[in-house]
Symmetry: C2
Subunit: 408 residues, 2 copies
């Protein structure tokens, strides 16, 4: 008998199956995240002008109804650039789910990831639905299958979860937050603003109304998903959905507990975002870029983001080369007014550039730091008190290989 | 005896030598472009906040004097992030040139390209000066040597020249324009705004005052150097200098001749820009992206630039994959309000996407077009009359190879 997942929140079931939508033999391609009772829901979507059909549809549904019962998601086809038929297909995808699982009308959201410009094979979807009926549940196996079904070029399953005790000394019980994310390429989430095809589904059994939930989600995304870039390409399909079904039975949260919840949600989102950067297409390393002592946060973030998306910087890190000049060059073109003559740059703790000038640093120490799986770059502007972090990965031969031959 | 260059304008001499500034044995690394009489000069520089010492110095010199006698340029060291000493070195570089060639004070500009954060080896510079005395001239050999001395990862010399007849039926004689450019990586010129390390020196024997010259240069750059990207990385050293010494002896230009000159200058700049994209680091193809029928030019340019800098698009072209979905995705994140449902996309003349949707196009025809050395992508927005072109190259394994191991 499968082990019950210790992390899936009360009242949710998840699952993933092989329907045949994805062209790769045997690949799981259809996932369902379902709440036994309609859940208050918050969501963020790509800001791209070229929005995929599921994104257009979800935005429309959420305008009228924020009590959501389920999210159905597929891999293998993005259902983007598919015109009216694409929109009809997305609608049918939700309606079929409602029918098969006996859910209220307009209470299902959908999400897709995969090749742009192809239609979803609708007959396969029905096959998938039948299979999902038996495949959903609350075990670790169901959890792994659900995530596997939305993965594309991802090389590992990305999950994060947290539990928090609520009430004085935990008197009111426990709340669970569970999230997964899919995304390895076209990652530069900009959900008002995320940039990627990232699909992330976060479930919690806390009782929080959708308005507050939306605020919490936007705050969490700002410091996590919106601080990740694999290749600077924002996707047509980026979707982040947070469902809260109240099934922890802990009631409305006190402001102290709300704060705890916000922190836990931030942690879950940050963990997912970092896992996504680590699993960037072709990545050999996770890179954390911290810009410190800037005049304000937006300056710090702009510089960190520009470094994180510089191909010259990312190829240097792939080569474990402490080429701090490329960091200074990227910072320079970030559109921020700062003083290069005051700027210090650290590679993995090694000070390589002081006051904008070369230092006689230990190349071997820097090289050793850069050969690790996680690399930290710090840019200290020494001009204020604001800071920002950004997460990315290195740029390798495999990135080119994966993307020079993805569609075919 | 070397063949006289048919293209170097009257009254200019050029040359390039090996001084030893560049660490690679035998590599030419010091170039001189000199006018026998001080020339009216226009220039554009990187907009980076991290400006290299030669850029800071040139801007300062040109504030006081627009009659320039020479440009001295080196490869192998960018003289960027070098603080006060770097600025002193740049000044010394100009002053030594003035002394050795007996030129007026503050009439020499300088430019550098190479590794950031290292000082120029000044004793080598003096050796170079001695050699330059004999190496400058007006032959094709001098021309090739001058260009070779500013090249870094460039794989071929990039030159363009034009001649125009002035006066009614050419009665006033002939004007020459000659230009060269260096640049293969960190190319995304933004000279107010160019983005790259591109160094470009353009010489003409036309008689045009520096104020008009500046306007002509800015117009020409807007449609050429500012429409090129190799990797989206703007350099600390980008420099574009245009010198006009009047030695054609054709006098002030009539407005008709001025127009002819502007066209010729545009052609020279565009040719140089395209050569630079073609020689992008690791490039196997030149890609021209045209965005048509936009509401306005800035929309068209923003979309073209976003496509040109998308790693996903550029790796697809490397793989000769007509992945128009990535074009639509990149267009979508350009920050422009357009209607994807009206947009058509052509790959090498093959319509791959009509009204934002997939077409059943001939993959083999598209593949054939994408396997050529020059590839044209057209995005037709069908929403207005404005258009813009952008030039870039594909993203290959060699880009990663070159940049994962450049500094060491």
């Amino acid at each position: 008998m499968p082990v019950k997942s210790i992390s899936i929140p009360n009242g949710f079931k998840v699952g993933g199956v092989r329907s045949g939508i994805h062209k790769k033999e045997g690949k799981k391609d259809l996932a369902l995240f379902i709440s036994e009772t309609p859940a208050d829901t918050a969501a963020m979507f790509t800001q791209s002008a070229t929005k995929a059909a599921p994104v257009i549809l979800d935005i429309e549904i959420l305008k009228k109804n924020k009590k959501i019962s389920a999210v159905i998601a597929n891999s293998g086809c993005a259902n983007a650039c598919t015109g009216k038929k694409g929109l009809q297909d997305a609608k049918a995808m939700c309606e079929i789910t409602e029918k098969y699982f006996n859910l209220p009308k307009k209470s299902v959201l959908c999400a897709s990831t995969g090749v742009i410009g192809q239609y979803i094979k609708m007959p396969k979807l029905k096959t998938g639905m039948e299979l999902l009926k038996n495949a959903i549940g609350i075990s670790s196996k169901n959890e792994q299958e659900a995530i596997a079904a939305v993965m594309t070029t991802d090389t590992f399953a990305k999950i994060a979860s947290k539990k928090i005790k609520v009430g004085v000394n935990g008197a009111k019980g426990e709340i669970k937050i569970w999230g997964c994310v899919k995304g390895a390429g076209m990652i530069h989430p900009n959900l008002k603003g995320l940039h990627a095809t990232m699909l992330s589904f976060i479930l919690t059994d806390a009782e929080i109304d959708s308005k507050n939930l939306q605020k919490l989600l936007e705050n969490a995304a700002e410091k996590s998903f919106n601080c990740v870039s694999v290749d600077g390409d924002t996707s047509t399909n980026d979707t982040l959905i947070l469902m809260a079904n109240g099934q922890s039975k802990t009631g409305r949260l006190s402001s102290a507990d709300m704060k705890k919840f916000a922190e836990a949600l931030n942690e879950v989102c940050l963990s997912l975002a970092k896992q996504m950067a680590k699993d960037g297409e072709g990545a050999t390393k996770l890179i954390e870029i911290e810009v410190r002592n800037a005049k304000n946060v937006s300056d710090a973030k702009a510089i960190a983001a520009t470094i994180a998306t510089s191909p010259l910087f990312k190829t240097a890190i792939f080569g474990a080369d402490a080429n701090w000049g490329r960091v200074m060059a990227a910072a320079g073109r970030a559109g921020v007014n700062f003083d290069p003559m005051k700027t210090d740059v650290y590679f993995g703790g090694v000070l390589t550039c002081k006051n904008g000038m070369a230092l006689n640093f230990s190349e071997s120490k820097a090289k050793k730091a850069l050969l690790k799986k996680e690399v930290k770059i710090v840019v200290d502007l020494k001009s204020g008190k604001a800071a920002s972090k950004y997460y990315t990965c290195d740029f390798s031969y495999d990135y080119v290989k994966i993307n020079g031959d993805y569609r075919s």
